[in-house]
C-alpha cells in the first residue's frame, strides 16, 4: 500500500540522499518534449492572419444565420439584437488590423477582402430585424464576406 504522508516526503527527499529515478526523468522529459513540439512545429499553428481571417469569416457566417433565423421566427428579435452586439465587438477594427498581421497576403487581396468587409459590417452594425427592410441583401453581403474571409484563412 502506498503510504505517503507530509512527514515522510520531507524525510526522504533531502538533497544529500536524493537520486532521481528514471520515472522522475520521465515526468520532467515528457512535458518538455510536449513544450518543444508546441513551440517549434511549423504546421502546429496558423499564421496570425489566417487566424483572424478565419474568425472573421466564422462571425459573419454566424451573423447571417442569426439574421435568417430572426426572420424565419427561429429566434426572437431581442435574441438576435443581443447576438449582433457580440458579433460587433468580435469584428470591430478587423479592417485596421488585417494587413498588419503576420502572414498577410498582398495588398490587392487585402483590398478585395475589405471591399466585402464594409457592407457586411454595415449589416452587423445595423441589422434589419424588421420585415420592412432589405434583410435578404444583408444576408447575401454577410455570406459573401464570410466565404471570402474563410477562403483567405485556409
Amino acid at each position: 500500500m502506498i503510504q505517503i504522508t507530509g512527514l515522510s516526503v520531507v524525510q526522504t527527499t533531502t538533497p544529500q540522499h536524493h537520486k532521481p529515478s528514471r520515472y522522475t526523468h520521465l515526468v520532467v522529459l515528457l512535458p518538455l518534449c510536449a513544450l518543444l513540439l508546441i513551440t517549434t512545429g511549423c504546421q502546429f499553428k496558423q499564421s496570425a492572419f489566417a487566424l483572424m481571417a478565419g474568425n472573421t469569416g466564422s462571425s459573419f457566417a454566424a451573423a447571417a444565420m442569426t439574421l435568417d433565423y430572426a426572420h424565419k421566427g427561429s429566434v426572437t428579435a431581442t435574441y438576435a439584437r443581443s447576438a449582433f452586439q457580440s458579433y460587433q465587438s468580435q469584428l470591430q477594427n478587423v479592417d485596421q488590423q488585417l494587413s498588419a498581421r503576420a502572414g498577410a497576403p498582398d495588398n490587392r487581396t487585402i483590398q478585395e477582402l475589405l471591399k466585402l468587409y464594409q457592407p457586411a459590417m454595415q449589416a452587423i452594425n445595423h441589422p434589419c430585424l424588421e420585415a420592412a427592410c432589405h434583410w435578404q441583401a444583408q444576408i447575401t453581403a454577410l455570406n459573401q464576406a464570410s466565404q471570402a474571409f474563410l477562403k483567405a484563412g485556409e
Binding site: M1, I2, Q3, I4, T5, G6, V9, V27, L30, P31, A34, L35, I38, T39, G41, Q43, F44, K45, Q46, S47, A48, A50, L51, G54, N55, G57, S58, S59, A61, A62, M65, T66, Y69, G73, S74, V75, T76, A77, T78, Y79, R81, S82, A83, Q85, S86, Y87, S89, Q90, S146, L150, E154
Partner: protein
Amino acid sequence: MKKWLSITLGIVTAIGGFLDAGTIATSGEAGAKFGLGLIWAILLATVMAILLVEMVGRFTAVSQKPYAAAIREELGFRFYLFPLISEIIAEGLLLTAELGGMAIALSLVTGLSWHILFPVAVVIVFLMAWRAPFDWIENGPAIFGMLMLAFLVGVFVMGGPSQETVQTLWKPVIKPGELADYFYLVAAILGATISPYLLYFYSSGTREEGWSGKSLLLNRITAFAGMGFGSLGSITIVIMSAIVLQPQNIQASTLGEIGLTLATPFGKIGSLIFACILFVTCLGAALECVLALSYNVAQGFGWPWGENKKPVEAAHFNLILVLFLVIALLINLIGIEPLQLALFASTIIALFLPLSLLPFLIIMNNRQYLGDKINKPWLNILVLLILLIAFVVSITAIPLELLSGGG
C-alpha cells in the same frame, strides 16, 4: 429519504462546477471546430472529476473536516497559501466570467447590453449567497439545470450526427495549422471541468449537509450521478455544435452562436431555453465559485463559516463573499468578453491545477483522518496519473493559448 434527496448536491456541483460558461464555451467550440473529436477529453475529465469528487466527499464525510482546513492542518499554513492564492486569482477571474455569462443570458432575453446587465447579475448572486440557505442554493440550479437535457432531446430531433461526423469521434479532422487549437481545447476542457473550486464547494457542501461516515454510498452515487449528468450535458453540446454549426463554418466564438444549436430544432422556444440554461448554469457556477472562495479563506484561517449561519454569526465568511463580488465588478470594468474571460480563466485554472490536487495524495492516505477509509493502492495510482495529466496541462496551457490565439 431526505438524505437521498442530497444527490442534488452532486447535481448542483455538476451544474455549477462542471457545467458553466467555460464548459459551454469549450464544448461549443470543440464541436464546431473538430466535430466529435474532443469527446474523449470530456470523458477523461469526467473520470478525473468523479474520482476527485468521490475522494473529497469521502474525506469530509469521514473526517468531518473540509478539504481546505485539512490542507492547512496537514501541510501547514505556508503551503496552504499556494493553493489559496492560486484559487483567488483563477476563481476571481472565473467568477467574473460566470457573472458575465448570466448578464449575456439576460441580454439574450431582454436585448439590452450585457454590460448594463452585469450589475444585475452581481445583485442576484449577492442576494442568494447572502441570505438563501444552502438548500435553496442546491435545489434551485439543480432543478432548472435539468433544462440541459434539451440538448440531448435536440440531438434526437436533429436525427443524430451524420456518418461523416460520427467518424470524427475516433478520427478527428485536424486541418494544417489547427493542431495548437486542438490541444488548447483539450487543456481548456480539462481546466474548465476539473476546477478546484468544485472540490472546495463539494467538500464544504458535505459539511453543510451534515454527511457522516454513513453517507459514503450516497457520496459515491452523488459523485457518479452529478458528474455523469454534467458530462452528458457537455457531450450533447459538442454533438449539437457538430451537427448545426460545423457545416456552416461557425466556430462558436460567442455564447449566442451556441444558442443557435437549440434554435435549429426548437425555434424561438429553443433559443429561450438556451438563455435559461446559460443563466442557470452560470448562476450555479457563480454561487459555487464565490462560496468556494469564501469557504476556502474562512476555513484556511479558521474563521466560522457556513451558508446556514446568519451573516452575523459568520461575519468574515460573509465579508469575503461581498469582497469578491466587488472585485468581480471591478474586473468587469476592463471590458473583456465573458467567453474569452472564461477560456482564459480555464487556462489559469489548468496552470494552478497541480497545487490544489497535490494534497490529495497526502491527506487521502492519512489514517488519523480516514481510519480504514484511506485510498486503496489503485486509487493512489489513479491520483498520480491525474497529477501527471494536471502537470502536463499546467505547463502547456499558457503556450497553447498564445499559439492558438486563445481558441
